[in-house]
Symmetry: C2
Subunit: 601 residues, 2 copies
């Protein structure tokens, strides 16, 4: 079978859409150059031959290569993805695809999954991929919810599920306040191990959801909610398998016999760690992480503010408090709509119409929550002994009360299952998953995130709020803005929850996201992280100097990965053999370029 | 004239040494492979034809290339280094060499210096260097004292003095607490600009000496003494000219129209900044830096501790206080010998014998200082309003007093010129240069630093102290240890001050440094930064996995700088055409590999 036929036979199609792209864009694409797209629109009946074979290799050669790898790693450590994606199988095998996919569920799926048990086995897999030119896609635990989950960027890639067997906490150092972990260590596991050892002088930092991998989250530059919330800034030392199979240790890890790998991140010479975050330049197999000293006390607090228009003046108040570290953790200002969703009730409880839940209904529901008749809820935490906390809390109180009607909520009035306590746990470094309850909003709930970065300023907050609100209204989507203030910047985090069986809603969600990315870029805002299907588009917005940064990234990619086998397309970086074929992403059309052609050798 | 003759004609020689390398090592080298070395030992009279021509290009072609560049940039923006290095000229032109050289003063010198006035002109110079295959060496202001000053790694390189004309503060943002600077902006200049604007709500952070470039220090990963002391961690956004001439902006700088370049360092995709620190992968032409909020009060404190043996228990006390941020700035524990030297009196004031000043004399001198009859002095600062400071100072006091005989010095008893006040200024973000007074220790004083990294532990402090003391005694050098505690690690900083006209002392200093680097590596300690002449050796100690990290660095170097023109050899990274010719650095002999052969095209 030829390459073109192969490609054609693998591609799912559903009426009215292709890959979740709205029909009118599909039509536009058909007229565009490239060719690949046309070959992918065969009827569904003709294409269902699993496993999905990655483009650029014949089916027989691929199956033989898999057999070879199975031989090397042991039969139990390679699984072919040859079951239909029925819901039961789907949920049991979350490492082959995005459990919350916004595309057709069979679009970004793996052809097979391998489970290395050591760095050496990762090297073997990489050597194998180079030999056969097969795209591989490493995941730590595949819990990148909202940004693509476990799905590979290129359909039919072989997923390396690092976490299943490489899940050891290699060291917890109670003197240096550091640890060394493998990819399969979750925030929960790390937390529990520290508790089990009785090290109550050390805290971890957890993101909103504690079930993910410490390495995975950090390498994707995720954040948490203690003062150690900037995970990337808090890591120290990497072990990385390069795309050509060599292993390096960064920082002090490169010095034989050192005892500083986890205490001094930089080492000597170029500080290379950064290029292994949000990239496809290497596979992180070990990572050091610093642990926060128990601050000697902590106290969550919550304020609410009445009006949507309070947003701008509030940001002006938050900025100096946050930069001065009076607000000590990621400051979070959440819209009432988002606080309600996080309680976990289905939208149908309040409203059964189409389009966004009307404001009046939202506020009626909010009246039953601590937010009451207000619009914004601020969740924060003060750290340290009580007299130190009192100093900071007094400053915060006098500033926040400058907003007319500002209300401080007394935590003792809140029931145990109130969302406030989830924020409290997370800000105290205790992993939690309550946040995820918002997927109950719809049947078959899934979510995807839009996360633009801006300065901490009223004008910027307002601009992003208006931008998001307008597009959500246009596409009939509930708008849940939450502003997370890092230190000098904030991320607006907008989670769109959709029914992953409802094609029309998925299409709308993706179109809304694409429009928001473009709208934001026009105003000078860019995303700090994004979903697989938006990576080309987002990367395309970082285009200063005629795309100079991407050209630079591609140069590094080609030098480190000459065969282009490691996670092609991740973060918009395509290796040489994938470039210049298929169609190029155009910001105007909002096209995804997944399924790019691969040059045959 | 042939390449070999050319090389021979340029090389300075002095009786008994070559390039500051002790005679016995010179003999060893003569027997070693390579050839280059032998050709460089012609009598002094035969070689003095300035300018020094870089290896690999004919003199006439080089002079013609310089003329071409002069034409492009304007005659006033290119200076040929054709004056003899007499002391007067030497001091007036500190951008052609290391003012504190530990080698022969004509060894690591530039052939010419160019003064670009813009990023575009830096690009022009880079294009010119690629055309003619001429090594270029960028400096910001050339104030990298103790680590090589302005000297290029490869003799005869064309120095790009960025700072002379590119010295603008492009932005100071009083809301975001950030600034954007060019390479010629010193810590003094930045401080003064902020003062002039009346922005007393913002502090800068300065290293020990405030006269250097903010960019230069940061890119070399230097540190300062406020809570913003980790300069690299505090920068945000780079503009970089790549070795092939393209310009990139990192982080949010890659997004056209952004207003977050200085507020969010990471951007989207690989975070590339790190590979432009301590490297030769690009020329930083702009850098964002965060500014510290005025903490609302500050208070320096000083403790002294009686015995050398107090070092180990003190470190055990310091570690948790520092990691918990009770000690808020780089904690500094300085040996009495170093405190005395920093007062700026010549050694001959106390002692005229050879070898290290005897301990009894040191202590007699110390008796006149606040250190009195004690051995260690701790300099620290507490930040914040008085009741917040009081909380931390009380904790510190109760911990420090666990060392028998610990003494707290009352600052009000100290005269205005006491070294304590220099530490006080620096820790309050006020640039200072008193530290440099120690070069008065000898006539023609110069200094060079040894800076190994270790965990903050008594055993490590003792091991490094003993290692340094033994080698200093062996070479008859005064030993001035100072431990600087970053957060989870400390740097032992040992400054060796020598008479740069005294060859025997220079030779001893270099041999002492080389031995200490090797001794430290055997114990698992590596340097965080080093002098030009030690770069190969130090890089060689980061050898894990058969030198995997260096091979990785070389791969990046070759991809970004195919012609090998940018700062060859910096931090031990040699471009392809310099590798495998000449002799290789061997840790055993301690040889410098400067003057490596260049493959002719």
């Amino acid at each position: 079978m030829s390459f073109a036929e192969e490609a054609a036979s693998d591609v799912p199609t559903l009426p009215g859409t292709h890959s979740g792209i709205p029909t009118y864009l599909l039509e536009k694409a058909r007229k565009a150059k490239g060719g690949i797209f046309e070959t992918r629109t065969k009827p569904r009946a003709e294409r269902q031959r699993l496993p999905v074979v990655p483009q650029g290799i014949e089916r027989d050669a691929f199956l033989q290569a898999l057999a070879e790898l199975k031989e090397e790693l042991g039969a139990e450590n390679l699984e072919v993805n040859d079951k239909p994606l029925t819901d039961g199988w789907y949920m049991e095998h979350p490492n082959t695809h995005d459990m919350m996919t916004i595309l057709d569920e069979e679009e970004l799926v793996a052809s097979a999954v391998v489970y290395p048990g050591s760095t050496e086995e990762v090297q073997q897999i990489v050597a194998w991929a180079n030999k056969h030119r097969i795209p591989i896609f490493p995941i730590s635990m595949g819990r990148n919810l909202g940004y693509g989950g476990a799905a590979p960027r290129v359909r039919g890639s072989v997923t390396i599920d690092l976490g299943k067997r490489m899940n050891k906490i290699l060291d917890i150092n109670p003197e240096d306040f550091t640890c060394l972990v493998e990819p399969g260590v979750s925030f929960y596991a790390l937390y529990e191990a520290i508790q089990a050892k009785g090290y109550d002088h050390m805290w971890i930092d957890s993101p909103d959801l504690g079930g993910g991998s410490v390495i995975g989250n950090t390498v994707d530059r995720g954040v948490g909610y203690t003062p150690y919330g900037d995970h990337w800034a808090c890591h120290a030392g990497l072990e990385v398998v390069l795309p050509t199979g060599e292993v390096i240790r960064t920082g002090m890890g490169a010095l034989p016999g050192n005892n500083t790998w986890q205490t001094f991140p930089y080492g000597f010479g170029p500080y290379s760690d950064g290029i292994f975050s949000q990239s496809n330049f290497g596979i992180v197999t070990k990572m050091g992480m610093t642990l926060m000293p128990n601050p000697g006390g902590y106290e969550s607090f919550m304020y609410t503010f009445p009006k949507e228009e309070d947003l701008a003046p509030l940001m002006e108040i938050i900025r100096p408090l946050r930069i001065s570290n009076i607000l000590e953790n990621v400051a979070q200002l959440r819209h009432v709509s988002q606080s309600i969703a996080a309680r976990g009730l289905p939208r149908s409880t309040f409203y059964t119409g189409s389009g966004p839940v009307p404001s009046s209904i939202l506020h009626a529901e909010a009246a039953k929550s601590p937010v009451g008749d207000h619009t914004w809820a601020y969740y924060g935490m003060a750290y340290g002994p009580s007299h130190i906390r009192a100093h900071k809390l007094a400053l915060i109180d006098s500033e926040f009360r400058k907003i007319p009607g500002a209300r401080k909520i007394d935590p003792s009035t809140l029931p145990a299952d109130e969302y406030f306590w989830s924020r409290d746990r997370v800000a105290a470094g205790i992993p939690d998953i309550q946040e995820l309850r918002w997927v109950n909003w719809t049947p078959n709930g899934a979510h995807v995130a839009f996360s633009p970065v801006s300065p901490i300023r009223g004008t910027d907050a307002t601009a992003l709020f208006e931008l998001g609100k307008k597009r959500h209204e246009q596409y009939g989507i509930d708008f849940w803005p939450a502003f997370c203030v890092g230190l000098r910047e904030m991320h607006l985090i907008v989670e769109i929850v959709f029914d992953r069986h409802d094609l029309e809603r998925k299409t709308a969600a993706l179109a809304c996201l694409r429009d928001m990315v473009d709208d934001a870029a026009r105003l000078g805002y860019g995303e700090y992280r994004t979903h697989l299907v938006l990576m080309d588009q987002v990367a395309g917005t970082y285009s200063w100097g005629d795309g100079a940064l991407m050209k630079f990234n591609e140069k590094i990619k080609d030098a480190l990965d000459p065969n282009g086998i490691l996670a092609p397309g991740r973060c918009g970086i395509w290796p040489r053999r994938y470039r210049g074929r298929g169609w190029e992403m155009t910001r105007e059309s909002g096209l995804v370029s997944e399924g790019r052609g691969v040059e045959m050798d």
